[in-house]
Point group: C3
Chain length 679, copies 3
C-alpha cells in the first residue's frame, strides 16, 4: 500500500506555482480544495530556480509553496526537478549535452537533454535530490518521491562510447566473447581491442527507413539499447539511493510512459517502490490499448497497484488533432485506470501554463482562471466521488488466469530484424492478442519473460522471437504442469544476442511445440492466404483470412488443427496443438484476421473457467480487483448510449451511488459502476 | 510615381550579358527593341566578375553593357549583385558561410548562402553597392536600384547567436524581462546571464514534423524569426543607405516573394522606396491566390503602385511540373498584375541561360536564339500594347472598402503553436476569405496590423491569434465608428510574445466580440460538425458544414446568428454578431465550407455598397484603379471561352483597342479589357 | 571463355567458413557436392581476420579452407576481402573513414565505408590483394579473382575535394575552361583559383527532394559523379594491377549491381576481364526488367558472356517483403540468366549466417543445417542439370539486330535536370522501350553510347538528352547506311557538360531527325494528351494516350506520322519520320501509352526480319545464344500454367531432357527448355 497513513485514492497532479505570481497561489488552493484535490506534484521543472548557480541553492520559494500546500492539507508528490538542467550548467559543462544518433552535438534547451553518462549530470542531479530530501524529510505531507521526469533519451557521445565499452567488458569479459556474441566475423567486423568498439549510430551501422530504425548488426544495436536503458536507470538509481538514505519510508517512483520503447521498464521497475505512469491516449486509440498499458504497468511489479501520475482532464497539445475529452470521458478513463489497478488519479496539469508549448494542454484550471467551466466541474465531481470511496479499493489487486508475455528485448530484436517483413511490429501483435481477450472481458496480466507462471491457466507469447536462457525450460514446466501455452510465427528464432538457434526453427521451443518450421514466407501487403479449420472447435470453423508471414512447417509430434488454404503450401499446417505433459502448446503459423483469434481464444478459454465475470454488451469493459474476501467489479460503459447489465443472481453494493445492485443494472452513456461483494 | 521623367509601364526583365559573349549583346539589343522592352535588370549575380579579388574591382565589362543599353534607350534597374558572394571571399573569410538549422556549417555555393550577421558580408556588400552607385550615379538610364536578390536565409552560427543576444537585450533590457516574456519558468529554462541565451534550432528547441517547423518555446522561436528577418533587413539597409547617399533620387527596391514566410515584409517595406516582387504561380494556383499576393504587395506600402519584378514568359524550371503558359496567359497575368497595382511588367529572364539550373526557365529569347517563337511573339505584342498605354495608368491606385488583415508575426505564431490542430494553416485561412471576396469581385486591400482602418467599411482578420499592443483598441474604435469587423476561431488568444491573455478567450477582443470562448475542440480530418443558421440572413440559411476547430462559447452581449448542429455542443453559438458603437463585430467559431463564407460575406457586403463594379460571369476578374477623376476598370477573362459583359448604362473607353465600349463588351478567351471613364 | 580448362557453367556462390567452426567445414563440403556445386567465392569479408594488425597477416585458416575445397575439387572465386577494412585500421587512420553528402564524418562499421581516395585504403587494400595473389597464385582451383564487393559509395571529405580539384585540372586544364564548362557565370560562381572548387554536397549545391537528388549546378554535379565513379575504379584498378602482375592468366572481376546509378559501369567494364553481377529482383519486378539488366551486363563488354555472381536461392532479407521464390522460380531465373548470356549460376549464400543482418537471407544450406529442405533439393536438382549441360553453352553469344542505348552520364544528367518535369526518370523510359521489345521476344543488345552500331538494323535511344562528342555523327552514319534510329522527347538537348546546344532542339540530332522543337510542355500527372495516327501503319492506327512531356515541334524535312489530339498544339506533329540516306530516323515527341509503343515497334520491326524466333504465348520468354554453327533457343515459361509451343517445321534437341523436340513442345509451369539446332 502506497501510504498506510493516508489510504485514499490520490487525486491531483502536476502543479507549477513557479510559473505564476504568489497572488495566484492562494487562489490555486481554494480551487484545489473545491476540486477535491489531495495531492500535488512539484517542482517538476524548477532546477534552474532551485540552483541558480553551481554554488547557490534557493529553496525559499519552494518552502513557501509547500507550507501553503501543507496548510491546505494537500499531500506532495515531491519531484527532484532533474529532467532539465539549468542553462548555466550546460554552458559551464558542455559535456553534459548529448550527441544524437546523427552525430549532432545538441545545444542547451528542451528537456531530458543531457547525456545519461555525464558525470556532471549525475553529480549535480544526485546532489539536488539529496538537498531536497534533507530539507523536506520531515515535511508532513511528503507522500511520494518523483525522480526527474519521463526519462528516455539516447546519447552517442564519446563519453557514452567509453561507458559502452566498459558495459560490454563487464557483460562479456573478453574480446573473443564479444566477437562471438555479436557474430563479428560477419562483414569483417572482428575486433582485437576494446576501443575498437564503436557506438552504433547513423554514422555507421544504423539508418532510418520509413521511420523504422534499421541496423546492420543486431547484436551491437540490441546491446546499445540495453546499455542506454541502463544508463538512464543509473541516473535514476543514483538519485533513488541518495533519497532512500534520508527518507527510507517514503515510496520513490519516476513517471513511466506505458509502451515506451527505449527503456526496459521491467528492469526499471525493480528499482522503483511504486510504478507510476503517464496515460495520453488519443481520442481514436482503442480502449483495449489503454487497458493493456495499464495492465502492463501493473505487471511491471507483479500486480502491485500503480499510480496514474498524469492524464489530461480535457485535451493534449502535442497530438495532431487535440480533441476534447467528451463529457464523462475523463471520469470514465480515470475509473478505467483504477479498474486496472491504479491507486491514484492525477492530472497534468492543475493550472494551464500561459506560455511555451504546453499552454494548450488541458488543465483542471483553465486560462479563464475560474471554476465555472465544464472541465473544472467534471474534475470536482470526480474528486468528490473518489473521496467518498475512501480506502475501499486501496491495495486491492487483480486475480488473472490468463497472461500475455511482453519483453522489451524481444521488441527491440523483432524490429531491428532485417527481414522477413517490415510489416511485422511486435507491439501491434501483442495489442492484437490483448484486444481479443479484452473484447471477451477476460482478465489479463501483462507479464515479463521471467515472471512466475504458476498462477495462470493460459499464457500467450505473441512473436516470442527471442528466447532467453531459461525461458524455454520455464515454459515447458508450465505446460507440463497443465498450462496452455500459445505462441506464433517468428518465435523461438534467436537467443538473447539475436543469434539464430541452429538446427531448425522454432529453436528452443521446438520440443514444446512439436513442430519444425522449414521456411518463412513474407506476403506483400495486398496478398492473403487462409487458415482452413480441419475439425470444428467451439465456434472455430471454416476458413479465416491470414497474411504478412506464413510459416511452412512440419509436424514433429504436434497435430494440425488447421491448414493453409492456398499457395504452394496449401494443405500444410497453419495451426498446431502439441500435448505436452498435462498441458497443451499451440502454434499459430501466420497473422490471422481477428475473428480467428476470437474464436480460437474462445475455444481455449471456454474449456477452462477464465471467462468474463458478467455477460455484458459490446464496448462495456469489465475488470475486477480483490482485497481479502472482497471482490470489486468495475463496469465501464464505453458506449455513447446507456446499457443494461444482467447481474443474474448476484447481489452487489454499488460503490459510487452507495446503492444495492440486483438483477439488472442500468449504466448511463460513458458511465461507470463499481460492484462490491464478498466472496 | 516611380519615375516622373519616364512615366510608362516598365517592360523588360533580368538580363545576364556576362553569361554570353559580346557578339550576342548586339543581337540582344535588336531583339529587346523588337519586343518593346524599355528596361533591363542587371547585373544580378556578377559579384565575382565585378570584384575578382579583395582589392580589385572590374567594371569595364559592365560599362560596355550599360553603354550599349543606353545607346538603345533602355533603362536600367541596377542590381547590386550581392546575393552571391565570390568564391574567393568564402574561402578567405569562412565566417561568411552560414550554419543551417541542423547545425551544419554550409560550404560555398548556391546563392543567398551567407550569414546575414557576417560583418565581412556587410562590409563587402555595402562597399560594392557604394562603388556601383559612385560609378553609375550619372548614368542616364538609371531607373531603379535593385539590392541583392530574394533575401531570406536564416543562420544559426555562433556569430548570429551573439547578435541575437544583443538584439534581445536591446528589445527587453533585462534578463528578468526576457525570462518573463519567454515564460522561461516553463521546463526550467530560467536564465541568469545573457550568454545563456541559445539560438533555437534543431539542436535544442525545434524540430520538423511533416514539414511543419515545431518548437518547444514559441517565444524564443518567434523572436528568432523576428531577429532573422531583421538581420537580413540590416544587410539590405546598409546597402540602401550607401546608395541613397549618392543617388538620393533614384528609387531603391529589392525583389520580394509574395507570401514568403521567413521575412516580415511589412517591416521591410518601410525601408523600400518601392515594393517589387517576383510572381511565380504554378499553372494550378487559383487565380485568387495570385490576386491576393498582388494586393498584399500593394498593401505593404499602403496602396502605392508596385513593380512586378519577375515572372516567367512561359514556364518555370523549379516546379514539379513546369507546364507552358498557354497562349494569352502570359498577357492575361501581366495585366492582372497591372490591374492590382503594378506599374511594371518584367520577366525573369530575357535570354535563356544555357547552363546550370535555370536553363529550362522560360525567357523572352529562347535557346533557339531568334524571334520566330510563340513566346517572343506574345512578348512583343504585349510590349507594343503597354507602350500604347503610355502614362495613363501610372500612379493610379485602388480604392477598396474592404480589407483583410495580414500579419507575419501572427503567421509564425499560429504555425509554431503546439495544438490544437496541425491542420490550421494561417495562409490557407487568409486565402479562403480572400477567395470568397474575390469571387464576388469585391475590391480588397491586404493590410497590416497597424494600418489605418478609417477608409474601410469591412475589415476581416481571419485567425487573429496574436493581438499586439494597441490592436484591440484600434479595432474597437473602427467598429465604434460604424465599421464591420469579422474574425474567427483561434483569435485573441495571445500577445506579441505568444503569452496567453488570461481571463478567457478571445482575450483582448472579448469586449468587442461580446463572447467568451471556454474551450476549443479539434476535429479529426474526417470529422465534421455543422453550422445551423437561426434566421435567414440574405442567402444565408439552413445548414453548412464546418470542421477543423470548433470553439465552445458563451454569449456576453453578442447574439447568436447560427449554432452548431451536432456533437455535445450542438445548439451552442457558432456565429455571433455583437453590436458595438455604430458598428458590428462578427465571430465565426469554426472553419466553415466556402458556401457559408460566400453567403455570409454576401450578406455583410450586400448591406453596404462594396460589391463588384459590374456584373460578370464566373472566372472573370474585375479590379479598378483610380487616378484623380479617372476610373480604370480591368476586366480579365480567366476562362477558356469568350464572355460577354453587360456594361449597363456605362460608357467607357477601352484602352487597349482604343475603342468605345457600351452596352455589351465581348472578351475573348484569356482576354483583357481596360475600361476608362471619368467619375 | 572464362576458363578453357574448366568449360562448364560455374555453380556455387559466397562461402563464409570463417563465420563457422571448423567442424562445420567438412559438412559443408559434403553438402556442396550433393548440390553439384563446383565453385565457391571466398573470403569476401575477412580482411580483419587476414590482417589482424598493420604488420601481421594470417593466412593459415584460409589455407586450411582452400585445401579442403581443393580436395573436394571445387574451384575458388578468390575474393580480395577489401570491401570492409578492419576496425584497427579505421581507429589508427581515421582519414580512411568517408564523409557523407550531408557533411557527416562516418564512424567505423557497415561495409564499403571507406573514402575511395584514401591513400591508406589504397595502400592496404592493394597490399592485401598482392599478398593473396602471391600466396595462392599456384592454387590449382583458382578460377576467378573477385575484387572487393559491390563498390559504390561517394565521399565528400577534404581529401576527396583535393582529388576532385586534381581530376578537374587534369580534365579541363585551365580555370577559364572550368568556368566555361560549368557555366560559372551563372549565379556569380566564377572562380579564379583551383582551390575555389568545392565538392557539391548538401552543404551547398545539392539537396534531396522526395528522394530525388537535386542540384543548382548540373555541370559540377555531373563531374563529381564521374569523379566518384572514377575514384572507386582507381581502387579497383590498383588491386587489379597488383594481381595481374602475379597471375596474368586468371580472369579478374568485381561484382556489379545491374542498373546501379552511382558507377558508370561501361567505363568500369573496360578494366574487367569478365563482367559479373548480383541479381536481386523482388518478387514483383517485371521479368523484362531482369532481362534488361542481364542484357546490359552482357553489353558492358560487347556481348561477352558474363557471370551471375549472386542471386538468392529463396528469399532476400533487405527488401520490404522478402517472399520466398516459389517452387521452380529459382531454377527458372537461373536459366534466364544463362539465356541472356551468363556462364555461371551463383548464390549468395551457401550457408546461412546465424547472426547480423543477413541471417534471414536465403541460402543453399538453411539454419536447419541439413539437406532435407525444399530449397536444397531445388538447388541440387539444378546443379545436376547444369552439370549435364557440360560445355555446350559456354562461350556462346547473342546475335541481336536491335539495340537500346544506355548511358550513365545521360542518366545522371536527365535526373539532375531542374525542369521540365520531375516525373521523367531515365531508367523507367529505357525499361519501357525494352519491355515493349521484350514482350515480342525481340533479341536486344543493351549498348553504350560509343558501341559499334554496324551490326544492328534498329537502334533505340530513349531520352538521349546528352549528346556527347561524335555521337551525332555516328548515328548519322548508321542511318545513312540504312539503319533505323528511334529517339524521343528531351533528346539532343545538351553536350557532355550539360550545356544546351544552342540554335534549337534537338541540337546535334536536328539534322538527322529533320525537326525543330520549339517548346517543351510538362503535363501534370493527371493530365493527358493524345497521339493521333494520320495513316494506318501496320497495327498502328487511331488514337493513343500520351503525357508527361509534349514537344511542340516544326518539321524541317521530316514528315509527320501522327499529331497531337488536343490542347493548343492539337494537330502539330507528335511522331515524325525522317528519311536520311538509306535509313530512317524517328522522333516520338511525348511519353505514350505502351500500346502505342508495341504497335510502333511492331511496325518498325515487322518491316525488317528482327522478330521472335518462335511464336509463343504471353509471358513465355524466348532468347537465343549462338556458338559457331549452333543455335540455342531458351524457352522460359514465366506462367503459373503449362504452355504448348508450336515448333513449326523445326526439329530441335532439347538439352535438359536430352530429347528431340518437334512440332509441339509442352513446358510445365515455370518450366524451361533449351532447344539446340544447327544453323
Amino acid at each position: 500500500m502506497l501510504n498506510p497513513n493516508f489510504p485514499v485514492i490520490y487525486y491531483g497532479g502536476d502543479y507549477n506555482p513557479d510559473q505564476w505570481p504568489e497572488v495566484i497561489w492562494k487562489e490555486d488552493m481554494r480551487m484545489f480544495k473545491a476540486a477535491g484535490i489531495n495531492i500535488v506534484t512539484l517542482p517538476v521543472f524548477s532546477w534552474a530556480k532551485l540552483q541558480p548557480s553551481e554554488e547557490v541553492y534557493d529553496f525559499e520559494w519552494l518552502d513557501k509553496v509547500m507550507d501553503l500546500v501543507a496548510q491546505n492539507e494537500i499531500k506532495v508528490c515531491l519531484a527532484t526537478s532533474t529532467a532539465a538542467q539549468p542553462a548555466w550548467m550546460s554552458k559551464k559543462y558542455p559535456d553534459i549535452l548529448p550527441v544524437d544518433i546523427n552525430g549532432h552535438k545538441r545545444a542547451h534547451g528542451g528537456r531530458v537533454n543531457f547525456c545519461p553518462n555525464s558525470s556532471v549530470y549525475r553529480r549535480f542531479s544526485t546532489a539536488l535530490a539529496k538537498k531536497l530530501a534533507e530539507r523536506y524529510k520531515d515535511y508532513p505531507g511528503l507522500a511520494v518521491w518523483h525522480i526527474a521526469n519521463e526519462y528516455g533519451n539516447y546519447c552517442y557521445c564519446e563519453n557514452c562510447a567509453a561507458s559502452f565499452r566498459a558495459w560490454v567488458k563487464q557483460r562479456y569479459g573478453t574480446i573473443e566473447e564479444v566477437n562471438r556474441r555479436w557474430n563479428m566475423s560477419f562483414w569483417g567486423h572482428t575486433i582485437y581491442d576494446w576501443d575498437e568498439i564503436v557506438a552504433p549510430s547513423h554514422l555507421n551501422e544504423m539508418w532510418l527507413d520509413n521511420g523504422r530504425q534499421c541496423t546492420n548488426f543486431q547484436g551491437i544495436a540490441l546491446d546499445y539499447n540495453r546499455f542506454m536503458s541502463d544508463s538512464s536507470l543509473q541516473c535514476y538509481k543514483a538519485e533513488y539511493e541518495a533519497i532512500k538514505e534520508i527518507t527510507p519510508d517514503i515510496p520513490v517512483t519516476t513517471n513511466l510512459m506505458g509502451t515506451f520503447k527505449p527503456l526496459d521498464y521491467f528492469k526499471w521497475a525493480r528499482c522503483m517502490d511504486v510504478v507510476s505512469w503517464d496515460n495520453y491516449p488519443s481520442a481514436v486509440e482503442p480502449v483495449s490499448n489503454v487497458a493493456m498499458r495499464h495492465d502492463l504497468m501493473r505487471g511491471l511489479k507483479d500486480g502491485q497497484p500503480f499510480m496514474l501520475m498524469e492524464q489530461t482532464p480535457s485535451q493534449q497539445n502535442w497530438q495532431q488533432y487535440n480533441s476534447l475529452k467528451r463529457p464523462g470521458v475523463m471520469r470514465l478513463w480515470s475509473y478505467q485506470a483504477v479498474a486496472h489497478g491504479a491507486d491514484s488519479v492525477m492530472f497534468f496539469q492543475l493550472r494551464r501554463s500561459f506560455g511555451a508549448c504546453e499552454k494548450y494542454h488541458g488543465a483542471v484550471i483553465a486560462h479563464a482562471g475560474h471554476e465555472n467551466t465544464r472541465v473544472f466541474n467534471e474534475c470536482a465531481k470526480l474528486g468528490a466521488e473518489l473521496k467518498a470511496l475512501g480506502d475501499k479499493l486501496i491495495g486491492s489487486t487483480a486475480r488473472s488466469k490468463a497472461a500475455i508475455m511482453f519483453d522489451w528485448d524481444n521488441w527491440w530484436a523483432v524490429e531491428f530484424s532485417s527481414g522477413p517483413s517490415i510489416r511485422l511490429k511486435y507491439l501491434e501483435q501483442v495489442e492484437k492478442y490483448y484486444r481479443c481477450l479484452h473484447s471477451m472481458n477476460i482478465s489479463i496480466d501483462m507479464i515479463g519473460i521471467e515472471s512466475d507462471l504458476s498462477a495462470y491457466e493460459v499464457v500467450i507469447a505473441p512473436v516470442l522471437y527471442m528466447v532467453k536462457p531459461g525461458t524455454a525450460k520455464r515454459l515447458e514446466s508450465f505446460v507440463e504442469a497443465g498450462g496452455v501455452f500459445i505462441t506464433t510465427f517468428f518465435s523461438g528464432i534467436v537467443n538473447e544476442n539475436d543469434l539464430v538457434t541452429l538446427g531448425g526453427y522454432p529453436g528452443e521451443l521446438r520440443k514444446l511445440l512439436g513442430i519444425w518450421v522449414e521456411e518463412i514466407d513474407a506476403l506483400f501487403p495486398e496478398a492473403k492466404n487462409s487458415i482452413v479449420i480441419k475439425e470444428e472447435l467451439g465456434t472455430m470453423k471454416g476458413t479465416y483470412s491470414c497474411g504478412m508471414l506464413c510459416d511452412l512447417m512440419h509436424l514433429e509430434g504436434a497435430r494440425e488443427l488447421a491448414v493453409y488454404g492456398s499457395d504452394f503450401y496449401a494443405g500444410r499446417p497453419a495451426l498446431t496443438e502439441n500435448l505436452y505433459g498435462d498441458g497443451r502448446a499451440y502454434y499459430i503459423a501466420s497473422d490471422p484476421e481477428e475473428d480467428f483469434l476470437k474464436d480460437f481464444i474462445g475455444y481455449i478459454c471456454g474449456a477452462g473457467d477464465i471467462g468474463a465475470a458478467l455477460d455484458v454488451p459490446e464496448n462495456v469493459e469489465l475488470t475486477q480487483r480483490f482485497k481479502e474476501n472482497k471482490e470489486f467489479t468495475f463496469v465501464l460503459n464505453h458506449n455513447d448510449f446507456a446499457v443494461d447489465i444482467n447481474l443474474g443472481s448476484g447481489c452487489f453494493s454499488e460503490l459510487i451511488t452507495g446503492k444495492t445492485a440486483q438483477i439488472m443494472l442500468s449504466i448511463e452513456p460513458k458511465g461507470v459502476a463499481i460492484l462490491e461483494r464478498e466472496i
